[in-house]
């Protein structure tokens, strides 16, 4: 895998960096003053993870998802989750064709590049579980037939933290499929003024109808390059030690799973790439810790930051010394 990096030319990497910069600029125009959230969204996309947005209505979650879909040149699908939503409404179903006297498969919204599952916690656990296979393996099985999804398949799910009536909290198994949980939060005053100014005499669809920055192949290549970024053993040891600390923490019922560690490593690689580095450093883990750990520690959102800080404070960073392999 390292040959991929070695054979790569600096010019190629510059192109990648330039595309990511464009992507970031466009998203920043849509969601003003939220560059940190946008960076995390891009990291999530590049690490081939899925994103859970937990925030109030009207903060731009759908807009963000639609714009992102447009920028990566992919198909966008939206599912409004309700208690009566069935699994087949998501995965698709077989329907009998009277003319041909055969069953035909009608694709559900999972057959898209970016799927927005709005208010996912309103769907029943049965329906939520229908997405497990799609999110983890990028495939669905309907009536014993397996259908491959898009390689760019990226789920952005939202859930509303206030209105908890008639909701079904996501099970741990499903939460573990998400790479990150983010909150967008209200914009700053100055950003809201800018947003209002930009909305004058502008078609609301215009922002989401942009020229793609990536085509399907380019995004996949970038994701593969990121997956090949090497991680020093000391950093991996640090990652495992944090994982152990979450498992031993008295206030946590469930610690970080090995899948969680793999996801976090990939996120850290993407973070390193976003910072134009082709090696991972402990800061990559520290800066993505809140987003990655929030989704899988099963704790209340308000306690997240304190608890995660406490866990990080309990683990010693790797020494800044010559790598032993040298």
């Amino acid at each position: 895998m390292s040959t991929l990096i070695e054979n790569d030319t600096k010019m190629d990497l510059q192109q990648e960096y330039s595309r990511i910069e464009q992507l970031s600029d466009c998203l920043n125009q849509v969601l003003k003053g939220k560059s940190e959230v946008i960076d995390n969204v891009i990291i999530c996309l590049l690490s081939r993870g899925h994103l859970l947005l937990e925030d109030h209505p009207g903060l731009g979650k759908t807009m963000l998802a639609k714009t992102l879909a447009a920028l990566i040149g992919g198909r966008f699908a939206r599912v409004q989750c309700t208690p009566d939503l069935l699994p087949s409404d998501i995965t698709g179903f077989n329907i009998f064709n009277q003319k041909t006297h055969e069953f035909e498969f009608r694709e559900g919204p999972v057959f898209s590049d970016i799927m927005l599952a709005d208010e996912i916690n309103r769907a029943t656990p049965r329906t939520q579980s229908a997405m497990l296979e799609a999110m983890a393996e990028r495939q669905v099985t309907v009536d014993a037939v397996r259908y491959q999804l898009s390689q760019d398949y990226f789920v952005i799910a939202t859930q509303n933290p206030i209105d908890q009536h008639g909701t079904y909290p996501l099970p741990e198994a499903q939460l573990d499929r998400f790479a990150m949980k983010l909150t967008i939060g209200y914009p700053e005053e100055i950003d809201e003024i800018r947003m209002l100014a930009a909305a004058i005499d502008q078609d609301s669809d215009a922002v989401t109808e942009r020229e793609p920055v990536f085509n399907e192949k380019e995004l996949l290549e970038t994701q593969q390059k990121i997956a090949a970024i090497p991680v020093a053993e000391s950093v991996q040891r640090y990652l495992v030690q944090i994982g152990n600390a979450t498992r031993k923490h008295p206030h946590l019922a469930l610690g970080l799973s090995p899948r969680g560690l793999l996801t976090w490593q990939r996120v850290a690689q993407a973070h390193a790439f976003l910072n134009q580095r082709n090696y991972v450093i402990p800061d990559d883990l520290l800066e993505t810790a809140l987003a990655v750990l929030s989704v899988r520690l099963g704790i209340d959102q308000s306690e997240n930051r304190v608890l995660i800080d406490e866990i990080l404070q309990s683990v010693k960073l790797p020494d800044y010394a010559l790598p032993s392999s040298n």
């Binding site: 020093a232 010559l322 392999s325």
Partner: protein
């Protein structure tokens, strides 16, 4: 990343059990090594040090493992510990004068290595080595020592060993991760350990004298033959030479043979002749007489020495030997006696009561003198109680033990301290074997003292500072025996009396007067045995006292005795041996008494009882043994000694102290200066090394300011926090953080595309080295 499965080495219980096993083995080895040489306190302190080292080592190795430390580093530490144990021995031999035999040096090196291995037990292989090594230690210790404490330790080791084996096996089953071949090894281990334990049990408990069976022919340096190895210990081949041993008579020689061996060993008279030259002649023109009143003269004449008591007088007139005579082969240079116990010690052999101006004569024992010995048992051993009347010099006086071993002194008088209370010779429980030689000197009813037999003497050593009659008039305390105050009628005596009176004229107190006379002699008379007064014109004492002011100890003692008698105090001259602390042999814990240690001193009666005699030492360079010092007194003495030394070397001490304080206060500045200079002069070629040394310097400066980077904070975060406190721009700090991260975490394969420019790195490091200093903020 490969996450290691949980193995037995990671079990804390097993780790602690391993440490306990090695500590038990180390304790057993210490007890075996001590074998009466060192006290229990020493062993306990030694054990505590070892336990502390093991504890600290455990913490260190655990943190080392956490920090991804390599086993190579642990191996280096083990090697260093083993080498240090070996290197320590020559240092100990050169500077402390004691040492251990070869096999014990090796055993201690191995023990220290196992101790470190046990501390490094968080690594599986070291834990296993240490556990097996501890069994080796205890087997080695048990083969050389088989006391009850060893049995307890062996039992403890046995229990711990079995627990370790079973627990590790149980743990292996529980985690069910070990491959099949390791399980087979475990079976072998169990079998081998059982065999080792059975062997250990057989060796340790079945043999009466395990050392002979276990080590004979295996350890060539073992045994008491110091000719083979100076530091050899007792055990094998004993018998010919004297070895350390205070309580076991069998370690010296069979008692049946010892008292009856005939030899050419020197008598006390021979030793005196050899030490003080032969007796000289005195001119007949010189008056000499024993100054007695008429009514006493008849008795004294009757009691004057005859041929049977030839060695019971001593002449102060001596003549120089010729060179040939001095170099002739005569008395062996080996010690006459060996003394175990506190020194300096005055061992009395003869008292002299009558002086005629030249010769001292002993008062013969009165025929009606009561033979007052009794027998009592102490710890199931026979002790002869010397029932001469106990002294009343001080209220509380503790018994103190000295062990005297006659090497080759031909005498049946028992060399003993003044206030002898009890005598113990193992297996001797007959009081008729003991008799009085003189009023306060015991003799054995044999031709001579047994050779190489430890004779235990329990005595009192009253504290001269606490003498309870110090304010009393000694002359009125008891009826005086005339011969103790008798002076010869010589022209010399008035001169002596005058001098003595002049010396004490300002003193009222008798005790103070006695001390003044003693002090006068110590201050004004030089001790020189080479000076011999054999002239025929004058009495030796007169020439010594008023002309030379230097001479042998018998003249100094005679002078003191005459001065004290002239003041009216009962005084007697005593001859015997002086066990000097300068001769103490740390290795054998004995003080040898040589022929040169024959000595004369004075005893003065300072109380009402017949035994209230007190040793007065008028000769400079000799000291009188006081009671043992308490811990407080020892501490004060040590403190005074240190203070005295510091006072004598005040300039040096102040300079050293000042330097140490300055070094401590300015330690960071000094290190900073040295490191900066070093980095400026010697720039590492390797870019990564340059980056890390720069970071090290920066962190050193931070520590000086109390701004040490927390171990859970990344360098970038820390530098952002410190940016305002540093006299350097933030960009340079960010650059450094970037380079450090690259140097620490970027693999070599990434260098080809992302190696920062060496010039940039060098430039950044230069700026940090020169400018990155903390700005001191006002409080």
């Amino acid at each position: 990343m490969r996450v290691e499965p949980k193995t037995i080495s990671e079990s804390r219980i097993l780790h602690f059990v391993t440490i306990a096993m090695v500590l038990t083995g180390a304790l057993a080895l210490s007890i075996s090594d001590a074998d009466g040489r060192y006290t229990r306190t020493w062993i306990a302190v030694n054990f505590l040090i070892e336990a502390t080292v093991a504890f600290l080592g455990t913490l260190y190795f655990a943190s080392l493992k956490k920090r991804n430390g390599t086993e190579t580093f642990v191996n280096l530490i083990l090697l260093a510990v083993m080498l240090a144990s070996l290197v320590w021995e020559p240092i100990q031999r050169i500077f402390f004068g004691n040492g251990r035999p070869f096999e014990l040096i090796l055993m201690f090196a191995v023990k220290n290595t196992f101790l470190v291995m046990a501390a490094a037990g968080c690594w599986k292989k070291y834990q296993q080595f240490a556990a097996w090594g501890s069994i080796f230690l205890i087997i080695s210790a048990a083969t050389t020592y088989s006391g009850p404490d060893m049995i307890v330790l062996a039992g403890l080791e046995l229990m711990l060993g079995f627990f370790w084996l079973f627990y590790s096996y149980w743990n292996t089953l529980r985690i069910a991760l070990l491959p099949a071949d390791k399980k087979q090894n475990l079976g072998k281990s169990l079998l081998l350990s059982s065999l080792a334990l059975v062997l250990f049990l057989i060796i340790s408990f079945s043999s009466g004298n395990p050392v002979v069976h276990a080590l004979k022919g295996i350890m060539p340096s073992s045994g008491g033959d110091s000719r083979g190895d100076l530091y050899a210990r007792d055990g094998l081949g004993d018998g010919e030479l004297l070895v350390a041993g205070k309580f076991d008579i069998r370690s010296f020689a069979p008692i049946e043979n010892a008292p009856f061996m005939s030899s050419d060993d020197p008598s006390l008279y021979d030793i005196m002749s050899d030490t003080y030259e032969d007796e000289g002649e005195i001119s007949k023109n010189i008056d000499r007489a024993i100054g007695l009143r008429m009514q006493d003269q008849k008795f004294e004449e009757k009691e004057l020495p005859d041929a049977e008591n030839i060695n019971r007088h001593f002449s102060t007139a001596r003549q120089q030997k010729t060179a040939e005579e001095k170099s002739a082969e005569g008395i062996s240079s080996d010690a006459l006696l060996h003394v175990s116990g506190r020194t300096p010690l005055h061992l009395r052999l003869e008292t002299y009561d009558i002086f005629d101006g030249v010769n001292w004569f002993s008062e013969p024992l009165k025929e009606d003198y009561k033979k007052s010995f009794s027998l009592k048992e102490r710890f199931e051993k026979p002790y002869i109680v010397v029932n001469n009347k106990a002294h009343t010099l001080s209220q509380e006086c503790r018994n103190e033990l000295h062990v005297i071993t006659n090497n080759h002194l031909k005498s049946n008088q028992l060399p003993a301290p003044l206030h002898l209370r009890e005598i113990h010779i193992d297996l001797v429980d007959r009081i008729d074997l003991f008799d009085w030689h003189q009023e306060s000197i015991v003799k054995l009813d044999r031709k001579e003292l047994p050779r190489l037999v430890p004779m235990h003497l329990i005595s009192h050593f009253p504290d001269r500072k606490m003498i309870q009659y110090r304010d009393a008039r000694f002359a009125t305390l008891s009826p005086q025996q005339k011969h103790y105050v008798a002076l010869p009628e010589l022209p010399l005596i008035p001169k002596i009396r005058k001098l003595a009176n002049e010396l004490v004229t300002d003193l009222e107190n008798d005790w103070d007067r006695i001390k003044r006379i003693e002090q006068y002699h110590r201050q004004h008379f030089q001790h020189d045995r080479s000076i011999v007064f054999g002239g025929k014109q004058q009495l030796p004492l007169e020439r010594f006292l008023f002309e030379r002011k230097a001479g042998p100890d018998y003249l100094i003692a005679s002078s003191a005795a005459l001065m004290l008698r002239s003041l009216g105090y009962s005084t007697r001259l005593v001859s015997g041996f002086y066990a000097s602390p300068d001769h103490y042999d740390i290795k054998s814990d004995h003080t040898p008494v040589l022929a040169d240690d024959v000595h004369f001193w004075v005893e003065v009666k300072v109380g009402p009882s017949a035994s209230d005699w007190c040793t007065i030492e008028p000769t400079v360079g000799y000291a009188v043994l006081g009671p043992p010092l308490s811990l407080y007194e020892k501490t004060i003495e040590a403190f005074l000694a240190v203070t005295n030394w510091l006072g004598k070397h005040l300039t040096l001490s102040l300079l050293t102290l000042g330097s140490i304080i300055s070094l401590f206060i300015f330690r960071y500045q000094i290190i900073d200066f040295l490191v900066t200079g070093w980095l400026m002069l010697y720039r590492p070629r390797d870019t990564r090394r340059l980056i890390f040394r720069t970071l090290w310097l920066l962190e050193l400066r931070a520590r000086r300011q109390g701004q040490k980077r927390p171990v859970t904070m990344s360098l970038s975060q820390w530098l952002k926090l410190q940016a305002d406190n540093l006299a350097i721009n933030t960009a340079c700090l960010s650059e450094l953080a970037q380079y450090v991260n690259w140097a620490a975490f970027a693999p070599c394969s990434a260098d080809k595309t992302h190696t920062p420019h060496t010039e940039q790195i060098s430039d950044c490091c230069n700026r940090i080295i020169n400018d990155a200093r903390w700005i001191k903020r006002s409080p």
